[in-house]
Amino acid sequence: MEHYYQPEIECASREQIRAWQDERLVKTVKHVYDHVEYYRKKMDEKGVKPEDIKSVDDLHKLPFLTKDDLRDAYPYGLLAKPLADCVRIQSTSGTTGRRVVAFYTQHDIDLWDDCCARAIAAAGGTREDVVHVCYGYGLFTGGPGLNGGSHKIGSLTLPMSSGNTDRQIQFMCDLGSTILCCTPSYAAYLAESICERGLRDKIKLKAGIFGAEAWTEEMRHDIEEKLGIKAYDIYGLTEISGPGVSFECSEQTGMHINEDHFIAEVINPQTGEVLPDGEKGELVFTSITKEAFPLIRYRTRDICILSHKKCSCGRTHVKMTKPLGRSDDMLIVKGVNVFPSQIETVLLNQGYPANYQIIVDRVDNSDTLEVQVEMTPEMFSDNVGIVGAREKELVDALKSMLGIYVRVRLVNPKTIARSEGKAVRVVDKRNLYKS
């Protein structure tokens, strides 16, 4: 039997959803135009007035917002409420120079928690369940989001946060966790650890809600089989609120977008033209209920396909595919956003040439990041200790820029593969984006 958290909303008629969207969009656009100078300037530049936006049909008239806008406006430039009305911030993974800080009023947090509660209910969660949250707690939205959703459902919530696998498994056994929330790679790791310890019979898990990174169907089957659960995908981004922007239902054929809060569009990333259902393009979100940090036509850079086909679960909200790729060169490694340009900056600062290759792989269900750098006469010494110390400095500088360990491999000059005279910068061996 399908569980819902807010069935009257989740299964509302398309007309009703459309009516909510029309009304909330008009209100949000007027609010940001009146209260946020950044939006006012952008809209004026495009010659759009709030009066021009009468319904969702007019959405395409509004300018796009990009991650660069968020960076330009950092920290308060897009704030649509007085700071005194805000109660929380969350932030994207610590990628220097691209950090995004999102603000929340209490109302914003309530609605975000509702979104996560819908995801937990869709995975079968009720107040009888024990929800084991091992997403990180802190600036990352994963932990706080699922934690809030679980509270809304009334489930017993285990705010485990990430790491300490022994303790995770012990709590899981002792307290009978039934729903696991974490990244898919950590779920796979936990599954292996549980099987290795012969504790499969001691756990009571029935479902998992896994997101914040790309994963394949193979990985889903592997986790489901090892843990004897049903594994559900969840999608979200800090800019828009966090996890729960969309979530999977029992059909497991895409994620329902919470359309009463977010309007989704798919566009051609080159031209900005809005694409019809079924066509692959860049996902764009407009948040229509956010108070503190509403984003209008925010380009996610995630490539996916929308579908309004009727779903067997009874929900009427549009479904999106898992992200099928990125329209920029961003990599997500261990849940952290990595741009090749950041790596290039570090290399240049450390005296290495901008001749490099990034190799991303997944070993034992955990992401690895390797940077190959070509040796130069300037960086070379007959003393292996000196070369090693320079290499170590580079590793440290990369770690402080990206927040994750990067393996550095020094290679002979001119050995990095080039195609048509241009170096191939990124080799992603994970094959995560199979559609």
């Binding site: 006469p377 020094l410 001119k414």
Partner: protein, 143 residues
């Protein structure tokens, strides 16, 4: 008096050293001594060759990162205690040794050691005071 050591960066990958020595072979380079220092992912190949200039050109041409390092070479009797004698002189003279390696040639009862020190002039002076003389590049080429 110093000799020119060729230092080459080599990735730690199967076949890399074969590739390097093949280049040397193709260009008729005669090696006197070889030593490799290894780190996790790479190594530094150090060589004393008959023609340092030609070797460095050949390898640079082939795309290697090469440096020429002036090091000291000392001829010692091939018998127990001779290396100790040199080390003791350097130690007593406060000369810090970065690395060293030794080799034999066709010359009977004689060994050679290569010394890489922080300060070549100081080392030459300390050794000279004890009657130990370093040999020059031409002498190495003729061995």
């Amino acid at each position: 008096m110093t000799v020119k050591q060729i230092s080459v960066f080599v990735e730690n990958k199967a076949g890399r050293l074969a590739e390097l020595t093949d280049y040397l072979n193709q260009h008729g380079i005669d090696m006197r001594a070889l030593s490799i220092a290894e780190a996790e992912d790479f190594g530094v190949v150090r060589m004393i060759v008959d023609d340092a200039y030609k070797t460095s050109c050949v390898l640079k041409e082939a795309g290697y990162v090469v440096s020429i390092t002036p090091v000291l070479a000392v001829e010692i009797p091939d018998e127990p205690g001779s290396l100790y004698k040199i080390m003791k002189i350097l130690g007593d003279g406060g000369v810090n040794l970065e690395y060293t390696y030794a080799f034999l040639t066709r010359k009977k009862n004689t060994a050679y050691i290569i010394l890489r020190v922080e300060n070549n002039e100081r080392a030459v002076e300390v050794l000279g005071k004890q009657g130990i003389h370093t040999i020059c590049q031409d002498a190495i080429a003729g061995l």
